[in-house]
Amino acid sequence: MTANIKKSTGYQFSDIKKSVLIYYIVIIAVQVLSLVITHTIKSNSPVILTVYGSSTVDMATTIFLFVVGLCTFKENFGMLLQNGFSRRSILVGRVLSFGAIAGLMTIIDLLLTLLFNMIGNAVGNFSVTTTFEVIYGSGGFGWQLLGVLCTFLLYLAVLLVGYCISLMFYRLGKLGKVLVGAGVPALVGIVGPILDLIFTGGKNYSAIDNFFTVIFGYDQHQPWYAVATLTVISLLVSLCTWLMLRRATVRK
């Protein structure tokens, strides 16, 4: 690893550090609060009440990381160009720093899940689990490791997708921004399904739905499909990002 890539990675990692810290403070506070509420309801209730709750930390993290991906392009790009980094060093550093963040948060989330689960079980029927287990079911140690891998790849993929989208908006002109920003969701979310419903009875959309089920291995409970799919997504998105970043220029 050249010194420049190391510096680029270090800067871009440290840039996210603070928001990650704040995120975990909020997550822990929310979990503690919900445990306290669960416990209070249970002990104050005149009737014996079974309080059942379930939550996952990793879904929240996934959304958080997507937003992080969306927010980290512009300032970093300007700052690093100002300080003599090539676009190649910027991107390599970006991907590596995303990898570090994804890895770190996978481990923290796993530990938090175990911890909350332990406390939750102690104070009530409150279980905290992982999305991986919800989808693919639980299993032994090897299965757990596979879950960690899947979570890591998911985090990395959403970071990269968020980054790629913000870069796309950066590259697009004003009109393009509006068209893509409003047009794509409207087309995919509203116009598409309606047309699909009218003309093919919703066949295309259910096919797409099917497709996702298959590539993530939901129906077969096969996480390796998800591993492969997420890896391919990360690679493709990184490639798209590079193609857009190559010719990206500074803007005020």
Binding site: K7, G10, Y11, E75, G78, L81, Q82, G84, R87
Partner: protein
């Protein structure tokens, strides 16, 4: 050490911002880059630092292409009008990162300069006034130890005292380690004594690129009775005239000739020469 620019062209759609620029910038020289608004100064500097891409032409540092080359890019520091430091970053943190990025960054010197200019290092970048924003970037430029300093409007928003302080600090820094400095500014008079070479860029081309003293010998004014002045200037390269009553002043490009009876000859200072050369 030298930056070489060859046949540099930049189009924005139909607009030709740069039309074939050839220029060499050497170490151990302070250049004044002069040009009117929209002449192409910033575009050229942005391409030099890989922030924008040329349509055609090449830019090299010591023979190696600059664009997308970390080694070359790190040798150049460009101060631009736009601020590319994160808005919520503190001045102190920006210094810290600069030291991380530039191996020769002089921390104590940066602190000393901050003290001289009265820049609060605990302030966030977006909380700085226009003047202090410029000062903040100037301090990094002076302390970073890069071999090439490209200063685009380095005195934007600075009061007269701070401008003087900047000029003095720049010379001090330059005398310590002679680098290549390019100052692009509209305050021609102020930078004139600082620069060794003058580069005038006009409508995307290099109009002049030569030592300041030499450039100043290329023009002169002749003043006197209108009829006499008119007689004198026929056949000469007149770039501008002024008349008050019967008194006329003409600016002429070319070697100053022998004095004529009843006419007064004067040199042109850089600002007046610049105005005359770049008047459309």
């Amino acid at each position: 050490m030298a930056i070489e620019i060859k046949g540099l062209t930049k189009h924005y759609g139909n607009v030709q911002a740069l039309r074939g620029i050839d220029l060499t910038l050497e170490a151990g020289k302070i250049y004044g880059l002069l040009g009117r608004n929209g002449a192409g100064k910033t575009t050229m500097l942005n391409i030099l630092t890989g922030r924008q891409f040329a349509t055609a032409g090449s830019v090299t540092l010591d023979g190696a292409p600059i664009a997308e080359n970390d080694e070359s890019l790190r040798q150049i520091y460009m101060l631009s009008e736009a601020t590319y430091y994160p808005e919520s970053m503190k001045v102190r943190e920006a210094f810290k990162w600069s030291a991380e990025f530039y191996p020769n960054f002089d921390d104590p010197y940066a602190d000393e300069l901050a003290g001289r200019f009265g820049l609060n290092v605990n302030s966030k970048v977006n909380a700085l006034s226009t003047g202090y924003n410029t000062i903040f970037k100037l301090i990094i430029a002076l302390a970073c130890g890069a071999r090439v300093l490209l200063l685009d409007e380095p005195v934007l928003g600075l009061d007269a005292n701070h401008r003087d302080l900047f000029y003095k600090s720049l010379i001090e820094c330059y005398a310590k380690t002679p680098c290549c400095v390019v100052i692009s500014t509209h305050l021609v008079d102020e930078v004139s004594p600082l620069v060794e070479d003058v580069v005038i860029i006009h409508q995307g081309t290099i109009l002049k690129s030569l030592p300041r003293e030499e450039l100043l010998t290329q023009g002169y004014t002749v003043t006197g009775a209108a009829a006499k002045v008119d007689a004198y200037i026929t056949g000469k390269n007149v770039i501008g005239t002024d008349a008050i009553g019967g008194l006329k002043t003409a600016c002429i490009l070319g070697e100053r000739g022998e004095g004529a009876e009843g006419l007064e000859f004067n040199g042109l200072d850089l600002q007046r020469l610049f105005i005359q050369l770049t008047n459309d």
